[in-house]
């Protein structure tokens, strides 16, 4: 599967959503804005399904990071709660990307494993509940909270649900990497 191609598709969808949002905000452009926004979301949904099918944690996280960054960019600066939450998400995803690099190096990751408590609370299926898992878990909660917000249409809901599913897939595939790195 062409992972760069998938990411290009994600960016195309993000560009259309960006244009759509600006169309909504501009007087007299609401109809064209709606087309770009809603069809952009529909395209994004298709892309996120392909991202899930890639079963590649890095591609999944990249796609999600792109959309978090877009949400941060277009967030109303007066909505301090959402701003704080999205900034936190960006930081935690940056930590997740670092974890993704370290897990590829068995010696490094075996060392890192020694620093993670071995109590159930700090493990996922016996593997370290590291920055990658923490980013996915926190963000899934964030997305599920957004799903409960009033006024979300069916395409927005479908995309949010797909994003949650993608993060679960990312964690499942990441555990395979942890397994390989730790030789368990």
């Amino acid at each position: 599967m062409d992972k760069t191609g998938i990411i290009v598709d994600i960016y195309d969808a993000a560009i259309n959503i960006d244009i759509g949002k600006k169309g909504f905000a501009a007087s007299g452009k609401e109809q064209e804005g709606r087309i770009s926004y809603e069809d952009g979301l529909t395209k994004a949904l298709c892309c996120f399904k392909k991202v899930q099918d890639s079963e590649d944690p890095y591609t999944i996280m990249l796609a999600e990071y792109t959309f978090i960054s877009q949400e941060l960019e277009i967030c109303n600066e007066l909505d301090k709660t959402t701003l704080r939450s999205l900034i936190k998400a960006v930081h935690s995803f940056n930590d997740a990307f670092l974890a993704l690099k370290v897990v590829e190096n068995a010696a490094l990751y075996q060392g890192a494993d020694k620093t993670h408590p071995h109590t159930k609370k700090h493990r996922i299926h016996g593997y370290p509940k590291d920055s990658f898992h923490i980013a996915c878990i926190s963000h899934k909660i964030r997305l599920k909270n957004t799903l409960r917000s009033p006024g979300i249409d069916h395409v927005e809901k479908a995309l949010l649900k797909q994003r949650v599913a993608n993060l679960s897939t990312a964690q499942k595939e990441y555990i395979e990497k942890q397994k390989k790195a730790l030789g368990i």
């Binding site: 760069t4 960016y11 993000a14 560009i15 244009i19 169309g23 804005g33 087309i35 952009g40 792109t66």
Partner: protein, 78 residues
């Protein structure tokens, strides 16, 4: 330095709407050709460069004029 010519919101909406209509009709090549006429917003270009690398910007083929206007012509070298 001459100011980069930026695309108006009207032009972007027109291209975006046409591109998405092609995609809905199953013309993915036509869709991509039109998407390459659109400027990628600077915040997306910066993420692409930082997290993925220039190959995605090359493959995407988007107009980089807005990013160059905001960050300078040599932004991708920094």
């Amino acid at each position: 330095m001459p100011q980069a010519r930026t695309m108006s919101l009207d032009q972007k909406l027109s291209i975006s709407n046409k591109a998405l209509a092609l995609w809905k009709d199953g013309d993915t090549d036509g869709y991509r050709r039109l998407m390459q006429k659109l400027p990628i917003p600077p915040y997306l270009a910066k993420i692409a460069k930082e997290k993925i690398g220039e190959n995605v910007l090359a493959k995407g083929g988007w107009d980089l004029s807005e990013t160059e206007a905001e960050c300078g012509q040599d932004w991708h070298n920094r």
